[in-house]
């Protein structure tokens, strides 16, 4: 088995665990799922009728097979609150969540890389102090607190950004719609970048300090290569694989952060949908939203894995040798 295949296999295992967790969380834990949905005063016949309608009278193994098939084909069933198909609701929200998370990840990673490298080059400078502090802050400040503060400053006291929502109500049309969307996205995105870049920058600074001390860097400098080239093409190139690992490990946290960010800014995304569904005991919707968030994580994981193959020659060679 080649290395990329192994990684895809790993992602499939994660997906399987997510599916199993999702199934058992809702079905097995508090005993009978019907008790949590149906009024206890219903007659036994009515309960049995409902159970057979929802397929809850079949053996658990059979239910699981049906459930997996439905999940993988995005047939999440009907929402218990609205009665509409859950997937229709989710379909409108997934792009909003992606539009928040992807730029946030790209921006905070690039800012983190840039500042981290700068800090490693200028030990003891202001940049390094900023990096050290922002790293500590991102590990110890609750993101929602920072976001509430931002809202308070830039949406309440100084009203330059909207207090909530994904678009204005009613939404403008044409070119103004895009501007309106970005205007609403700006503050959440900014908060995610501010809270996100510190961790990356701190790691990259530490690794770069080590890499810059290696002898091949000295050698490259001795050969008279331009300094920028030595830094980026030699030293930074060598730490790319661990950088990707950190990116990979931060993904679940970023997706978790979407729930909180979307709640603070009242954005119309999958995370807030999950929260609303959980609060109103709408289990099909909550399960589907969780599945979507996990799928998003696994998808990004796979993308990062693909990048691994590009970045790490060892992975490529290992693959071709076998």
């Amino acid at each position: 088995m080649t290395a990329p295949l192994k990684r895809i296999g790993g992602s499939l295992v994660v997906l399987a665990v997510v599916l199993a967790l999702n199934f058992f969380l809702f079905r097995v834990m508090p005993g009978d799922p019907l008790t949590s949905i149906v009024d206890p005063r219903f007659s036994p016949e009515a309960k049995a009728e409902l159970a057979s309608q929802w397929g809850l009278d079949r053996p658990l193994s059979e239910q699981f097979v049906v459930y997996v098939r439905e999940m993988l084909s995005f047939r999440f069933g009907l929402s218990m609150m609205t009665g509409a198909p859950v997937w229709d609701e989710l379909k409108r929200r997934v792009p909003n969540t992606v539009a928040l998370l992807l730029p946030a990840l790209v921006l905070s990673a690039s800012l983190g890389i840039w500042l981290g490298v700068k800090a490693a080059l200028n030990r003891g400078s202001t940049v390094e102090r900023v990096v050290l502090w922002s790293g500590t802050v991102s590990f110890s400040f609750p993101s929602f607190f920072v976001q509430i503060l931002l809202l308070m400053c830039f949406a309440y006291f100084w009203r330059i950004f909207p207090l909530s929502g994904t678009t204005s109500i009613p939404p403008p049309t044409g070119g103004a719609a895009a501007i309106d969307y970005i205007w609403h996205l700006a503050l959440p995105l900014f908060s995610l970048v501010v809270m996100g870049f510190g961790g990356f920058a701190l790691y990259i600074r530490n690794m770069m300090v080590k890499a810059l001390g290696e002898e091949y860097v000295l050698m490259a400098r001795a050969r008279g290569l331009p300094f920028r080239r030595v830094v980026w093409n030699h030293a930074f190139r060598s730490i790319l694989p661990p950088v990707l690992t950190i990116l990979l490990l931060s993904l679940p946290g970023v997706v978790s952060g979407a729930v909180i960010t979307e709640t603070v800014f009242s954005m119309n995304g999958v995370g807030r949908f999950l929260l609303e569904a959980t609060n109103s005991h709408d289990y099909p919707a909550a399960g589907a939203a969780f599945f979507c968030l996990a799928l998003l994580t696994v998808g990004c994981n796979l993308l990062a894995d693909a990048a691994y193959v590009l970045v790490d020659p060892r992975v490529r060679r290992e693959g071709s040798r076998e």
């Binding site: 790993g10 295992v13 994660v14 665990v17 997510v18 967790l21 969380l25 809702f26 834990m29 508090p30 949590s36 030990r123 003891g124 500590t136 590990f139 110890s140 400040f141 609750p142 993101s143 929602f144 607190f145 509430i148 503060l149 809202l151 308070m152 949406a155 309440y156 006291f157 207090l163 990979l248 490990l249 993904l251 679940p252 946290g253 997706v255 978790s256 952060g257 729930v259 909180i260 709640t263 603070v264 995370g271 999950l274 929260l275 959980t278 609060n279 005991h281 909550a286 399960g287 939203a289 969780f290 968030l293 996990a294 994580t297 696994v298 994981n301």
Partner: protein
């Protein structure tokens, strides 16, 4: 001095958490109008005070009033057969009540306004406090009356949307944060220790299984799972502790496994085995104590994660609503329009509390780590020297 700052801060906060709001003279429950400002903030706003006359007190209570009218005025207590309560203002007197028996009057009640000859549409507190000057509540005959005057500021930190004292909530929230943070991390560390030892010492299939589980759990977003579980299981404090610890043992397991792997094949362990030491003896009398210092550091470094997770769940409204916690305070501030009232004082204390407590544990953890692993300390010292040179 700086070395012990975090430890001292921790001791102080722990004492505060154990003592609770009682000894500080703070009371739970509604004490002042919603979103009252902190007492020290704006001295032109009326404070909240209580005037008592009758049983055990003097027959008249005088105050000098230098503010605009308060927000609410209410009277409670009881009057005797010939009792009469009078409110003496610079521009005339009001007879507040002369009905014998229990009394529960509020300035918002229309019958009360009528009885005093005030129009039902008029704001009674401003009628009772027409100007600045000397006021007095006086009692004639027997009785026992308390007059509550509620202004727009209260205590050290003001009040929240239900008029509860923020300082009392803050102290209560501190207790929740410390309990959840420390308990969840301890349980998670025990889990991680046992699984790490098992995986490192047993090796083979067990090892592969545990490490696979670690990988999978590390690549699933945990907050959605925690939300769903909290939604299904119920929102009690100990449920929160259990589910937080189930999803945060992975790091410790990895560390302990790595340590066990290196120790397992060390020559002194091999020697122990050669003289016939049993596996459990080696594990619990030699390997566990060996990992203990690092584990302690791990606990301290893990607490911020647990506190942040608890605060996040509470912020999303997935905690016990009867239990005030810092996350819950921010949840309430966000849900009940602290922005629209400009009530920044209902946001800052909880948020700063969380951040400071996390910084403190990070600092303690790093110091413990340096102790446990002197090489790290040497590295830090080396770095300090380099920085001093640079």
């Amino acid at each position: 001095m700086k070395r012990w700052a975090s430890t001292a801060a921790f001791a102080l906060l722990a004492a505060l958490a154990i003592a609770g709001p009682g000894p500080l003279g703070l009371s739970d429950g509604q004490v002042a109008p919603p979103y009252s400002k902190p007492g020290w903030l704006d001295s032109s706003i009326a404070p909240s005070i209580e005037l008592r006359v009758g049983a055990g007190e003097s027959a008249a209570a005088a105050i000098s009033w230098g503010y605009s009218a308060p927000l609410r005025v209410s009277l409670t207590g009881a009057l005797g057969e010939t009792g009469l309560v009078k409110w003496v203002t610079p521009s005339g007197d009001f007879v507040l009540s002369q009905t014998p028996g229990e009394m529960d009057l509020d300035a918002r009640d229309i019958p009360f306004k009528r009885a005093l000859g005030i129009s039902p549409f008029e704001n009674m507190p401003s009628a009772l406090f027409p100007s600045r000057g000397e006021y007095a509540l006086s009692l004639e005959g027997s009785g026992d009356v308390v007059m509550r005057i509620e202004g727009g500021r209260w205590g050290l930190l003001g009040t929240d949307h239900r008029g509860r004292d923020m300082a009392a909530l803050f102290v209560r929230g501190l207790r929740v944060s410390l309990i959840v943070g420390i308990a969840a991390t301890l349980i998670a560390t025990l889990l991680g220790l046992s699984l790490g030892l098992l995986s490192g010492y047993a090796g083979g299939f067990t090892d592969a299984l545990v490490m696979r589980a670690v990988d999978v759990l590390l690549s699933i977003p945990t907050l959605p799972i925690l939300m769903v579980i909290a939604g299904i299981w119920g929102k009690s404090l100990w449920n929160l502790v259990v589910i937080l610890s189930i999803f945060s043992w992975m790091g410790t397991a990895r560390t302990v496994r790595a340590m066990t792997l290196t120790l397992r094949d060390a020559s002194w362990v091999e020697g122990l085995r050669a003289i016939g030491a049993r596996r459990n003896y080696i594990l619990f009398r030699h390997l566990v104590p060996e990992t203990l210092p690092l584990l302690l550091a791990n606990v301290a470094l893990g607490v911020p994660g647990a506190i942040l997770a608890e605060a996040g769940l509470s912020f999303l409204g997935l905690s016990d609503p009867r239990l005030p916690s810092w996350g819950r305070m921010l949840h309430d501030a966000h849900m009940f329009g602290a922005f629209a009232s400009g009530a920044w004082w209902s946001i800052l204390p909880a948020g700063i509390g969380i951040s400071v407590i996390c910084l403190m544990f990070l600092d303690i953890g790093r110091k413990l780590e340096e102790r446990a692993d002197p090489r790290l300390a040497a590295e830090t010292k080396q770095k300090a020297i380099e920085e001093a040179g640079a």
